[in-house]
C-alpha cells in the first residue's frame, strides 16, 4: 500500500468533514427565528444576558462568513459549544457517551459479521439444503423487522419470561464499588441484548451476502485447483474460498457503517444505553442545537474513519488492488 494513496484518502476524508461542518453551521442559520434563541433552546427561561453572551460567543452580530470562520475555528480547538440544557460543554457530554456507542456498534458489527459469515459459508455448502432455506427465511425476517420492535420483543422476553439479561442501562448500580473486572463483566452482561438487537438486521444480510458470494467463488477454477491439490473440504471452504468471498462482504460492511450508527441511536433509546444515540435523542427532543450539532459532527467523523479503514483493509485483503491509486 503506498503512502500517497493513503494521503489522498485522508485528504478526501478531511474535505468531507469540512463539508459536514458547513452543513452543520447552515442547519442553525436555516432554523426559523433568532439563532441565539435556537442555540439556547426552547427553555423559555433564556435571559437576555444569556442570549447576549451566545451572540458574543458565536459572533452572531457579524457577517455570515465571519460566523462560519468563528465556528470552524472553535471546532478546530475542540470547542463544540455549550449545551444549555445539560449545562455542560458539548465536547464533555460526547466524550462521556462516545465509548458506550463505539462498544455497542463494534460488538454488533463483529457479531453480525462473524455469525453471518459462518452461517453463510455453511449454507453455501448445500445451496438447496435445509440450512440454506433457513438462512433465506431468517434473513428476510431479520431484514424486514424494525430494530426497535426486535428490541422491545427481546425486552419483553428477557424481562418477564427469562430474566437472565438486564434490559436497561449499561451498569448495575449495586456493583458500582466492585473491582474493574467485575464491572467489565457487568457491562458485557448489559451489552448482550442491545448488541444482539442491533446486529440482527446485519447478521441476516451478511449471511445472505456471504452465501451468494461463496456460491460464486466455489464455482471458480481456482477452487477446482485447490481440490486437485488434495486440500480438505474445510481448507477449500475457509481458506481458498472465504478469502475471496470476503471481499464483497468487507465492502458492504464499510458502506453500512453509517446506517449502523443510526441504528445504534434507536437501540440505545430502547435499551436506555448511555451512548451518543440517547444523547442525540434527548437533545433533539429539547431542541438542544449545540449538542445535536456536536453529535452529528462526531458521528460523521466516525463514519469517515470507518470508511477509510474499510478501504485500507480492502487493499490488504485483495492483492490486485495494491499499487493502484
Amino acid at each position: 500500500m503506498n503512502a500517497s494513496y493513503l494521503m489522498k484518502r485522508l485528504g478526501y476524508g478531511l474535505l468531507l468533514m469540512l463539508g459536514v461542518v458547513v452543513l452543520n453551521f447552515l442547519l442553525i442559520r436555516l432554523a426559523p427565528g433568532d439563532p441565539a434563541v435556537v442555540i439556547a433552546g426552547e427553555m423559555g427561561g433564556a435571559t437576555e444576558e444569556m442570549l447576549e453572551s451566545i451572540r458574543e460567543e458565536y459572533g452572531l452580530n457579524k457577517p455570515v462568513l465571519t460566523q462560519l470562520g468563528i465556528y470552524v475555528g472553535n471546532i478546530l480547538q475542540g470547542n463544540l459549544g455549550e449545551s444549555f440544557f445539560f449545562n455542560q460543554p458539548v465536547s464533555k457530554l460526547i466524550g462521556e457517551r462516545i465509548f458506550p456507542t463505539i462498544l455497542l456498534v463494534l460488538s454488533a458489527l463483529i457479531t453480525a459479521i462473524v455469525l453471518g459469515v459462518f452461517f453463510g459459508v455453511l449454507a453455501s455448502r448445500k445451496p438447496n439444503g435445509v440450512l440454506s432455506a433457513a438462512v433465506a427465511v431468517f434473513s428476510s425476517i431479520g431484514y424486514a423487522v424494525p430494530v426497535f420492535w426486535t428490541g422491545i420483543m427481546l425486552i419483553i422476553l428477557f424481562a418477564s419470561v427469562f430474566p437472565i439479561f438486564p434490559v436497561e442501562g449499561m451498569m448495575s448500580v449495586k456493583l458500582r464499588d466492585a473491582n474493574i473486572f467485575i464491572r467489565s463483566l457487568d457491562v458485557l452482561h448489559h451489552l448482550v441484548l442491545p448488541a444482539f438487537t442491533l446486529s440482527v438486521i446485519y447478521l441476516a444480510q451478511y449471511a445472505r451476502l456471504s452465501r451468494a458470494s461463496m456460491l460464486e467463488v466455489l464455482g471458480s477454477d481456482y477452487i477446482r485447483t485447490a481440490r486437485a491439490k488434495g486440500a480438505s473440504e474445510r481448507t477449500v471452504l475457509f481458506k481458498h474460498a472465504l478469502r475471496n468471498a470476503a471481499l464483497p462482504i468487507l465492502t458492504v460492511a464499510g458502506l453500512q457503517f453509517g446506517s449502523l450508527i443510526s441504528g445504534a441511536l434507536l437501540v440505545e433509546t430502547v435499551f436506555n444505553w448511555p451512548g451518543m444515540g440517547t444523547l442525540a435523542f434527548e437533545s433533539i427532543l429539547r431542541r438542544d442545537y449545540p449538542t445535536i450539532m456536536g453529535v452529528l459532527l462526531i458521528a460523521s467523523g466516525i463514519v469517515v474513519v470507518a470508511n477509510l479503514l474499510t478501504d485500507m483493509s480492502y487493499r490488504i485483503a485483495d492483492p490486485r488492488l495494491r499499487g493502484e491509486s
Binding site: A228, K229, G230
Partner: protein, 326 residues
C-alpha cells in the same frame, strides 16, 4: 504387464433437466509408466469428464459414476474413501487445467500456492516447502524464481501462470499427470515451450502423461498412443502414428483432414471440416452416435451400437471399418 492407470468400462451419468444423461459410456483406456496418452475429440465429447473422474473431481450430485473402474496400480479409485482420494489427488495423480488465467487463487502468492501442495503430501516444514517451491519455479523455467514466488497470480503472464500450474502439479512427482488442454489459452510460441517443458518433466520424473487436446499437432508432437473420443465413447484406440497416418474411424479421419496444411498451394483449398455438430447427449438414439455426420452409414449403423473391436490394425468402433467399407 499391467498398466499404471487403467480406465475400464467407465460409465458416468449426470442428472439434468432432460433426465439422466450418460456423459461417458463404457470408456476404456490405459497409460503406462513414462508414456504419453493423447485423448482427442471435439468439445463435449467427454475428454474432460474422463480426466475429472480420474481425479475424483466430478461434482456429485449431479454426477454419478454408474459403472466401471479406474485403477491406479490396481487400486480402484471409484471405490476408495474420500480421505484416500485426497491423499492421491495432487500426490500420485495431478492435473493441469485449461485456464491458467483463472486457475490460480488471486489472493495468495504463487509460492504459497505451490508450497501448500507440497505440504499437503509431504511432511516438511513451511520454510522447506517454500524453498522447494522456488526450486520448482526454477525447474519450470521461471526467471528469478525467488522473487517470482512472492508474486500474486495477476502479476504474471498467462504462460508464466501455466508454468506455475505445472510446477504445482509436479511438486509431488506424480505418477500420472493429466494435462487438460494445457495450451489452449496460450500464444503459439508459448504453446511449444509448454510442450517442451512437459516432455522434460516426463523424462526427469518418469510420469505418465494424459494429454487432453483437440489439437492434432500437439498429438503428433507429444503422444505415444491416442484415444479418439466421440459423444462419450472411445471410438478409436491406437498408436499416435497409426491414428495420424491411417485413421480407421470416419470421425478420426475427419479430424486428421481438418489439420490445415501450410506451404505452397495450401491457400487454394478450402479447409476441410466435419459436417454437423456433436449431438446433445440427451438426444443420442440407438446405433452409432456419429451416424448423422457420417458418409458411410448403412442400416446397421442406425440400429446397432458399434463396439470398440480390433478389425485389423487397431481397435475401432465402426461398422463400416469392420465391414471393410471404410
Amino acid at each position: 504387464m499391467t498398466a499404471l492407470l487403467e480406465i475400464e468400462d467407465l460409465r458416468v451419468t449426470f442428472n439434468t433437466r432432460y433426465g439422466e444423461v450418460t456423459a461417458l459410456d463404457s470408456v476404456s483406456m490405459h497409460v503406462n509408466e513414462g508414456e504419453t496418452l493423447g485423448v482427442v475429440g471435439e468439445s463435449g465429447c467427454g475428454k474432460s469428464i474422463t480426466a475429472l473422474s480420474t481425479m475424483g473431481l466430478i461434482p456429485m450430485p449431479p454426477g454419478r459414476i454408474a459403472g466401471g473402474a479406474i485403477r491406479l496400480n490396481g487400486e480402484d479409485l471409484t471405490k476408495v474413501s474420500d480421505s484416500r482420494m485426497r491423499s492421491l489427488r495432487g500426490g500420485d495423480i495431478a492435473m493441469i487445467f485449461q485456464e491458467p488465467m483463472t486457475s490460480l487463487n488471486p489472493v495468495f502468492t504463487v509460492g504459497d500456492q505451490i508450497a501448500e501442495a507440497i505440504m499437503l503430501h509431504q511432511k516438511v516444514s513451511r520454510d522447506q516447502a517454500l524453498k522447494d517451491a522456488i526450486a520448482l519455479l526454477d525447474r519450470v523455467g521461471i526467471p528469478s524464481p525467488d522473487k517470482r514466488a512472492l508474486d500474486y497470480p495477476h502479476q504474471l503472464s498467462g504462460g508464466m501462470r501455466q508454468r506455475v500450474m505445472i510446477a504445482m502439479a509436479v511438486s509431488c512427482r506424480p505418477k500420472v499427470l493429466i494435462a487438460d488442454e494445457p495450451t489452449t489459452a496460450l500464444d503459439v510460441t508459448v504453446q511449444a515451450q509448454i510442450f517442451d517443458l512437459l516432455n522434460e518433466i516426463q523424462r526427469d520424473y518418469g510420469s505418465a502423461i494424459i494429454l487432453i487436446t483437440h489439437d492434432m499437432g500437439a498429438i503428433s508432437e507429444m503422444a505415444d498412443r491416442v484415444a479418439v473420443m466421440y459423444a462419450g465413447r472411445v471410438i478409436e484406440d491406437a498408436t499416435a502414428d497409426q491414428v495420424l497416418d491411417s485413421p480407421q474411424h470416419p470421425y478420426a479421419r475427419g479430424l486428421i483432414s481438418c489439420i490445415p496444411a501450410l506451404g505452397k498451394g495450401a491457400q487454394q483449398d478450402r479447409l476441410a471440416e466435419i459436417p454437423g455438430v456433436v449431438p446433445p447427449l440427451h438426444m443420442l438414439g440407438a446405433g452409432c452416435s456419429f451416424k448423422e455426420r457420417c458418409s458411410l452409414t448403412n442400416a446397421r449403423c442406425g440400429s446397432e451400437k458399434p463396439q470398440l473391436i480390433n478389425h485389423g490394425a487397431h481397435p475401432v468402433a465402426c461398422h463400416a471399418a469392420e465391414e471393410g467399407r471404410a
